[in-house]
């Protein structure tokens, strides 16, 4: 059977998906063991034992000074910032993207601006960002928003602009005003794409969060990574990165699930 036509069941897909990840893990272990055999004090590719040792204190023991479980406090702080940043970006992508994609005059006026903002690397303007938003939580959330919202806006606007012209015409012949068109025709059809855009933005969002936490923070996953980076403590960095990957993968799955729930029509009727 040709490969295009093979359908893979849910469980099979899961099993097959795990294989390359396991292979990568094994590869890592071999490399790490090798380096370790040469130099037992190697810090760059620590063995699992070292990682577990390093993480135990962070995960299970209260920090004496602050009385917090650092790992969990880091996670919570980062997720809050990330969640807020993504929520604001999503909301603005929806509002601006819809208007931009649907209304040619708005697109003509602000399209160029959005493109411009999208291509300006926000980390080059960090000093200004921190001056504008202070050194607190606002600046971190703002960096995420400035970093991913323009991309999401452009993506949603592009998708809205590609809606079949017949549908827009049709809705108008059925008496829809611009507002109703937006609310009832464009918005629901843009939702799956919006969720897709959020999924694609998760990676960049983490990058910006970590950059923000690297500069000014006293808690957060990115803060911890940058803190111990000075000591090349990969035994802490790697578990933290793995944890970030797990969190992001779970968020990705949740978003897929949401999209299926909310827009069943877009995901094909299942047999």
């Amino acid at each position: 059977m040709r490969w295009v036509n093979r359908r893979i069941g849910r469980t099979n897909a899961l099993l097959m998906g795990i294989v390359p990840i396991l292979l990568l893990l094994v590869l890592y272990l071999i490399l790490a063991a090798e380096r370790n055999a040469i130099n037992p004090a190697d810090k760059i590719l620590p063995l699992p034992g070292a990682m577990i040792d390093a993480m135990r204190g962070l995960v299970f023991e209260r920090d004496q000074l602050s009385g917090r479980y650092l790992f969990w406090a880091d996670t919570l702080a980062s997720l809050q910032r990330l969640g807020l940043g993504i929520a604001i970006s999503t909301a603005s992508a929806l509002l601006v993207g819809l208007v931009l994609g649907l209304l040619p005059p708005v697109r003509a006026t602000f399209g160029m601006l959005v493109t411009g903002v999208a291509v300006i690397p926000p980390i080059a303007l960090l000093p200004i960002l921190f001056i504008a938003f202070g050194l607190g939580e606002t600046a971190k959330v703002a960096l995420i928003v400035v970093g991913i919202a323009p991309f999401m806006i452009r993506d949603v606007a592009g998708h809205v602009g590609e809606l079949p012209r017949e549908q827009i015409i049709k809705a108008q012949t059925l008496g829809a005003s611009t507002w109703q068109l937006m609310l009832r025709v464009v918005l629901p059809q843009a939702m799956p794409r919006l969720i897709q855009a959020v999924r694609l933005s998760l990676g960049p969002a983490w990058v910006f969060l970590i950059s923000a936490e690297a500069i000014a923070a006293d808690i957060g996953l990115g803060y911890r990574i940058f803190l111990v980076r000075r000591y090349l403590a990969m035994d802490v960095i790697l578990p933290y990165v793995a944890w970030i990957a797990i969190l992001a993968a779970v968020a990705d799955l949740l978003l897929v699930w949401c999209s299926r729930r909310m827009s069943s029509w877009a995901h094909g009727a299942e047999r």
């Binding site: 079949p164 012209r165 017949e166 549908q167 015409i169 049709k170 809705a171 108008q172 012949t173 059925l174 008496g175 829809a176 005003s177 507002w179 109703q180 609310l183 009832r184 025709v185 629901p188 059809q189 827009s263 069943s264 029509w265 877009a266 094909g268 009727a269």
Partner: protein, 272 residues
């Protein structure tokens, strides 16, 4: 009746390809105009002009004496050649949509009693097009003919002043097509709609319309086939059903012999 809709020297060109040329037409209010012609002649393009989706390259179109804005509104309903229903709405919601837009300006949604009334109206219409059993399907779950019927129901429920139909019954089997003919004739006479219908079924064109337009190229340059566009080559008023009067819709059995007698006329026209 004075000219309700009139086209004056209208041309449609795509690049150097002339599609329609020198179209001059006056359509009276309440007319049922059938448009026939070979594939690619420009029938759909003509409908798009009247709909306001496209503007003519040259010439003017007036409605009630006022130049037509290149914009659609609820005065003009349409059933496109390719069934175009909203993929994210169920059959029922697709049909109710037009009513909701009209009755709920701000949120475009009805609730409570007014929603129930709208649903009842929609269900009646869906029953009439034979979709009474499929209220909660999404378009992707329906057959081609079912989608086309949904598009018809969607347009008819708004009772627009001008109804533009582009091969509306093309994908339907004879039985259902018959029902549709009756439905459209009834609505046309009850609400004195003005209808413009493109069809390939000549029997249908003559049975339903009270005026039949034939679009075709009037001359053809074999070396530059795109040089000349189509225009109205025949314009036949059918006096028998002149006024959108009572229930004079023909029984579908009358169609056959009509077709016989006309197929000769049509064959004269040089197909592109």
């Amino acid at each position: 009746m004075s000219a309700f809709l009139s086209l004056r020297d209208v041309w449609v060109e795509y690049g150097d390809k002339v599609v329609l040329e020198r179209i001059n037409l006056d359509i009276a209010e309440g007319a049922f105009v059938s448009v026939i012609g070979p594939s690619g002649a420009g029938k759909s393009s003509l409908l798009r002009l009247v709909l306001g989706q496209d503007a003519p390259t040259r010439g003017s179109i007036t409605l009630d004496g006022v130049p037509l804005k290149p914009e659609c509104d609820s005065n003009r309903g349409v059933v496109f050649q390719r069934y175009s229903v909203f993929p994210h709405l169920t059959v029922l919601d697709n049909t109710v949509f037009g009513l909701e837009c009209e009755r709920s300006r701000f949120i475009g949604r009805l609730f409570g009693a007014s929603r129930r009334a709208a649903i009842a109206e929609a269900e009646e219409m869906l029953q009439a097009v034979g979709l009474g059993d499929s209220l909660h399907l999404y378009p992707a779950q329906m057959s081609g003919g079912m989608q086309q019927r949904l598009a018809i129901a969607q347009a008819l429920i708004k009772r627009p002043r001008i109804l533009l139909l582009d091969e509306p019954f093309g994908a339907l089997d004879p039985g259902i097509r018959n029902d549709m003919h009756k439905l459209i004739t009834r609505l046309w006479s009850d609400y004195s709609l003005t209808v413009m219908m493109v069809t390939h079924d000549i029997g249908e064109a003559f049975a339903l319309g009270n005026r039949v337009l034939t679009l075709d190229k009037w001359r053809h340059d074999p070396h530059a086939p795109q040089r000349y566009g189509a225009t109205v080559v025949y314009d036949l008023p059918l006096t028998r059903k002149g006024a959108p009067a009572a229930d004079t819709a023909p029984a579908p059995h009358e169609e056959a012999d009509r077709e016989e007698s006309l197929s000769i006329t049509i064959d004269i026209i040089d197909n592109n």
